[in-house]
Subunit: 208 residues, 2 copies
Amino acid sequence: MTSTAVPPPTLTRLPVYARVLDELVRRGVVTASSVELAAAAGVEPAQLRRDLSHLGSYGKRGVGYDVAELRAHVRGALGVGRRRGVVVVGVGNLGRAVASYAGLVPRGFEVVALVDVDPAVVGTTVAGVEVADLAELPRLVVERDVSLAVLTVPGGAAQDALDAVAASGVRSVLSFAPRALSVPDGVALRSVDVAAELQILSYYLPPV
Amino acid sequence: MTSTAVPPPTLTRLPVYARVLDELVRRGVVTASSVELAAAAGVEPAQLRRDLSHLGSYGKRGVGYDVAELRAHVRGALGVGRRRGVVVVGVGNLGRAVASYAGLVPRGFEVVALVDVDPAVVGTTVAGVEVADLAELPRLVVERDVSLAVLTVPGGAAQDALDAVAASGVRSVLSFAPRALSVPDGVALRSVDVAAELQILSYYLPPV
DNA sequence: GTTTGTGAACCGATTCACAGCA
DNA sequence: TGCTGTGAATCGGTTCACAAAC
């Protein structure tokens, strides 16, 4: 099976596999079976084999997978081959935390721009990047080769922020705002809602 | 259909419905149909009706749903009827952002404890709460009635942190660490991985 | 008339189990 | 022999479409 579209559930697991393969490369492991990889990733072996089959046929029967080769293919499928510029929209506590997050660089992401609408924040420097006004966004996106946006604005500002980043040419957006957003054409949006995650976990707590 | 187990996909949508219903209550809306609710939540009407049917039968045919009543049932199903104490484990940038996040209180969550292992951080105050040593966790969980933990520790410390919160009696955990974690018995774990989200979004970017 | 709640059909992902290859 | 890749079976969620209820 060659690279036709990857099913969404598989896509969400690819970063996990990429992380596992990174670790194996770091430890100098050359070959790994689906059983070993699946155990490290926390999935079933059949699931992992099916997932990988959507990318191509990179294993050897009786042997397993070449770790370095497989990692290259997983990375290739995710499009994380090269550095990606990220703009953080909304420089509050969460925006600052994202801008300072050390886990991005090793995965190929670099926060190259920060924007906000608050004059008290614009002009300050966070994680080595000067905060610009939201109006500068279209220019920054072009000049600094921004591929992705992270929205860390209050819920009420999220739709405007999404429209603004879309208008400036960014097509992939990660939102932390607790809102259902109307997604402009051609834009890929993923959302993380911390309060919602806690509410989901509350379901499993013993009742009152 | 009465409240047997709620399917996981439905469970992830309930917080969205809760938010929509909050907004309608705020605007003084008394009744809403599945079509209206679904549009506000960004799902299909049939999906919403099926989801709600897992909670019980609270609509009136020809009329729709009583907004206040439905909200009470959704909240009840999520177990967000009353305030829940939260401990934040790991007081770095992200931990501070979570502790300061204004979106938690309106949804019934209160950060009542912060712990870290770094002596430079222990003893400082963040968002009105003094940071304690990780060793204090079992005592704090009991004394401050902690129901949920948020792990904002480096990846390498995540498994230990999870084991520690589980040992101290917390059964619901939200982790921000980019690791596959082995989950202790009886613990519900959800994970948010910001770098993984960006990698998933990278898939949709134009190739190199 | 309107709208819910739900069987039934559909669709897609997961899992099984084994043929095929190293 | 050992392990992959994948048809086939299975499982579960989504969507359709309509009878029942208001």
